[in-house]
């Protein structure tokens, strides 16, 4: 098969499609790989018109070594999915460069399809899927063009559409019934650092100058009953206990998934909801404050009232949970008390005097809390996403008495610090606050920009109590959420108000619609997991066993394929009507007697020849020929004529 694909235009298209397919990897891979790919693809493209510019075998060998070296140098290994995909991209580019024979052509097309698959490891959004689907369609069209005797683009396009239309139902069947597994076959070293997002495992206010707001969705919640009011929408995910030596860095608590939650007595409303969590790369799942139970397989609620899963959530996940916001906690263990009061060795005198001033008024912790909140409310504290950096040796003091500008983390950490100085056990909770209700999809959407931090203090008789000092400084933050779309460059935070203009309303409803589509996409396409498959099958009346799945898949897809096959193969006979079919069967009967019709022979000429050889059949042959001519060439045929013809041919037995 060493033949030059006849059409350089086909190769040019293939290179173009390859480039377009690799393009979205700019978001996932180091720019070095993308430049390498672009360079080689461009080189090959030029080579379609100037073949002598293409590299020889030695140069190709050198480039291959260079590609492998680049991968190891950039990603540190050849394993893990970022490294593998980088290597694949490099090799893909090299394959393009040596694209010569028909075999190379097919291999390149396969590489293109494989690259499409690798995109889904990083991102499964609808937009990307649509884009890649179009490219896959173009690839198949290109294959069809290559296999037509003469290039014919519109015809290829029509054929490809037909192929896709017939393949889609089979694909859906296979998608629904192919047995999924709940655990990976093997675990590759994952690259969680590469795709973390949302909450950070370290809380260190002041170390970053600017908090970037991302409008990416963190998770979506559907409530079975009523929605909690905005002030109750605290989504908990992290607990920070330990303060670093200078009081700035707070460390995340260990998972403690073996520790059971301390006794808590709940009261008030109960919320049932299901959460569609975007890829998260953490074990700490998001729940509404405070969770009672969840159906997430293998997950448990630990002593910090966090829902902990066994494995990191590396892909979009759906689970349901129950929470009740009103509760009374039990007693504090000694270990917790010492952790909740842990402080750096050296505490600034100014802070100690402030706290002792509060404590001198009343020794009641509740009073101290109020004093602290009053302090935040009355002193000129400003809520901003663009606070000055706190690089001094005593950041808490600097924040409380000098800069007084910051966002939730600043306030939460400063508050907890003050409480610990006052002898009240406290901790920081990380998570999300708020969420936007989508009336189209009837769900609450929580974005990364809604990330929040607040404090919890332990009070005798009440247990852990949620205190949000940010609410003291900027109550709108809690009630309305951040209007990140208008946030762009202004340093001061704007909060979302109900839109007044019609245009704004329209844009909002479009946004809701799009989010709703995306939600359904997430739920029904991406979230079609092992559990959902079982659920779906039990609804159909199967027990959901692996064997049954295989049976259901094989039987239904074979049936569908058989239908499609019949549909396609019938096209060959489509051009003939009943008369022609009957006449041909008569010809076949005569052929068994050694008189076969030439393709260019007329009915009467054939009849004459046949009668000469089989004179005893003269009458029948004459009658059939006459009826055939009448049916075929004359007008005003009666249905009886066809029936007569049919009978005559059936009775004709030479």
């Amino acid at each position: 098969m060493k033949q030059e694909p006849k059409n350089q235009r086909v190769i040019q298209w293939l290179i173009l499609i390859s480039a377009l397919i690799s393009l979205p990897h700019t978001f996932n891979l180091s720019p070095l790989f993308i430049s390498f790919f672009a360079l080689l693809a461009g080189w090959r493209f030029l080579g379609t018109t100037r073949p002598n510019w293409l590299p020889n075998r030695w140069l190709l060998f050198f480039l291959t070594l260079f590609g492998i070296a680049l991968t190891i140098f950039e990603t540190g290994s050849l394993f893990g999915h970022t490294a593998s995909v980088s290597l694949l991209t490099t090799m893909f580019a090299l394959k393009l460069l040596e694209l010569k024979t028909t075999r190379d052509f097919y291999l390149t097309v396969f590489l293109c399809l494989f690259t499409i698959l690798t995109h889904f490891i990083f991102d499964q959004s609808m937009l990307l899927t649509g884009y890649l689907f179009l490219l896959a369609f173009s690839l198949i069209t290109l294959l069809v063009v290559h296999n037509l005797g003469a290039p014919h683009l519109t015809e290829a396009f029509r054929l490809t559409s037909k192929l896709f239309l017939q393949a889609l139902p089979v694909m859906i069947l296979l998608f629904l019934f192919f047995p999924r597994i709940s655990t990976p076959l093997w675990s590759l070293p994952d690259d969680s650092s590469a795709t973390s997002g949302g909450l950070s495992p370290i809380m260190e206010p002041g170390s970053i100058g600017k908090l970037s707001l991302s409008d990416e969705t963190a998770f979506r919640v559907t409530f079975t009953g009523e929605l909690p009011p905005p002030s109750q929408r605290y989504w908990r995910s992290q607990v920070f206990w330990e303060i670093g030596e200078n009081g700035r860095r707070w460390a995340l608590s260990p998972l403690n998934s073996d520790k059971t939650p301390s006794a808590v007595s709940f009261s008030g409303v109960e919320y049932q909801y299901s959460i569609m969590l975007e890829p998260y790369e953490q074990n700490r799942l998001v729940t509404l404050d405070l969770p009672l139970k969840s159906n997430y397989p293998g997950a448990s609620i630990n002593s910090d009232y966090l829902l902990i899963s066994k494995n990191k959530v590396s892909k979009a996940t759906r689970y349901s949970a129950t929470s009740r916001p009103h509760y009374t906690g039990g007693p504090l263990s000694e270990q917790e008390r010492s952790l909740g009061l842990q402080l750096p060795k050296k505490i600034n005198a100014k802070i100690i005097s402030l706290v002792s001033k509060w404590k001198s008024n009343s020794n009641d912790p509740a009073q101290t809390i109020d004093q602290a909140l009053l302090f935040f409310r009355t002193e000129p504290f400003i809520y901003t996403l663009n606070p000055p950096r706190l690089l001094g040796r005593e950041p808490i003091k600097d924040f409380l008495f000098e800069t007084r500008r910051g966002f939730c983390e600043h306030y939460a950490t400063a508050f907890a610090y003050l409480m610990r100085v006052a002898g009240v056990p406290s901790r920081i909770i990380g998570g999300y606050q708020g969420g936007e209700y989508n009336p189209v999809g009837k769900f609450l959407e929580v974005r990364q920009a809604d990330a929040h931090a607040w404090a919890e203090v332990w009070l005798e008789g009440r247990g852990w109590v949620r205190i949000d000092p940010t609410a003291a400084v900027a109550p709108e933050r809690v009630e309305l959420g951040i209007d990140f779309r208008n946030q762009l460059s202004s340093s001061e935070v704007r909060f979302a108000f109900q839109p007044s203009g019609e245009l704004l309303k329209l844009s909002l409803s479009i946004r809701h619609l799009l989010n709703s589509i995306d939600y359904n996409w997430q739920t029904w396409v991406l979230g079609y997991s092992f559990e959902k498959q079982i659920h779906f099958l039990t609804q159909l009346g199967f027990s959901g066993l692996f064997n049954e799945l295989l049976w259901a898949m094989s039987v239904s897809s074979l049936f569908l394929l058989a239908l499609i096959a019949i549909f396609i193969l019938r096209q060959n006979k489509g051009g003939q009507d009943k008369v022609a079919k009957l006449y041909l069967s008569y010809c076949k009967k005569l052929a068994t007697k050694g008189v076969s019709r030439h393709s260019s022979e007329t009915a009467s000429a054939f009849a004459q020849r046949a009668i000469k050889q089989l004179p005893n059949l003269a009458n029948e042959i004459g009658l059939i020929t006459k009826t055939y001519q009448q049916l075929r060439y004359e007008k005003n045929n009666q249905p009886d004529d066809l029936l007569f013809f049919q009978q005559a041919i059936r009775r004709f037995n030479p």
Partner: protein, 270 residues
Amino acid sequence: MLIISLNYNLSLGFALTFLLASLSIISIFYCFQNLAGLNIQVKPINPVFAGSAVNINVQLINSSQIRWGIALSKGRSKKELIKKNIAAHETSILPISIDGVGRGSHTVGTLTFSTCFPLGLFRGWSPINCAQEFLVYPKPSDTLISFQYGSINHLQGNSSSKAGDEELSCLAGYKEGDPIKLIDWKSLAKERGVFVRQFEESSAVALLLDWEKVPGPTTEEKLSQLCRQIIEAKQNGFRYGLKLPDSVTPIASGAKHYESVLKQLALFQS
């Protein structure tokens, strides 16, 4: 692809994998349908001289919808000699030529029709054994050994070849160089123009090409020389006969005669 989709539990990966799987299965049906039901006939093949390519015209009659990229190869090889689309309800000819066929009578043998339509993932093929025969004449010798005029034999050429028994066949327009004695003076006198009389047997030369008289060490060389002589004789308008060890063809001329003597050479001792 399936394993990657399973391992990372990629819904879209499954979708893509299954889409491609369905496409390739469906493409098998298309591949089959593209080749099924074609009516194939091999046209009569013109005889050739050894050394030149044999041209075979294969006729495909398509009685249904268009067939894409039908390829034809000789024997059971995968080397496609020609690839063509055949329009709906169309009769199409696929011309192929075969080199290096020696003298004698041959059959076409196996022809393989194949198609990779629509995706090139599967190749459908159908070998057809074709009993159609064709003749390959000996290769004409490069050097012409002058005719053995001595072999002119009027007796063998029997009575029909009396020289001078000229039969007026038709009149043709005068071309420069035509002999004056052939001008049709009657029509010139009638002012119809200058015409030349054409005679069926304008040449009186008759030859008997004799196997015995042709030099050459091997049978093939002798045949080759005879072949060349027949061609020369025909081109010069001579009448000629052929004497082979086991048969004698009387002196005659014309296309049929030419073909029959060459056929004898082709089939000689084979």
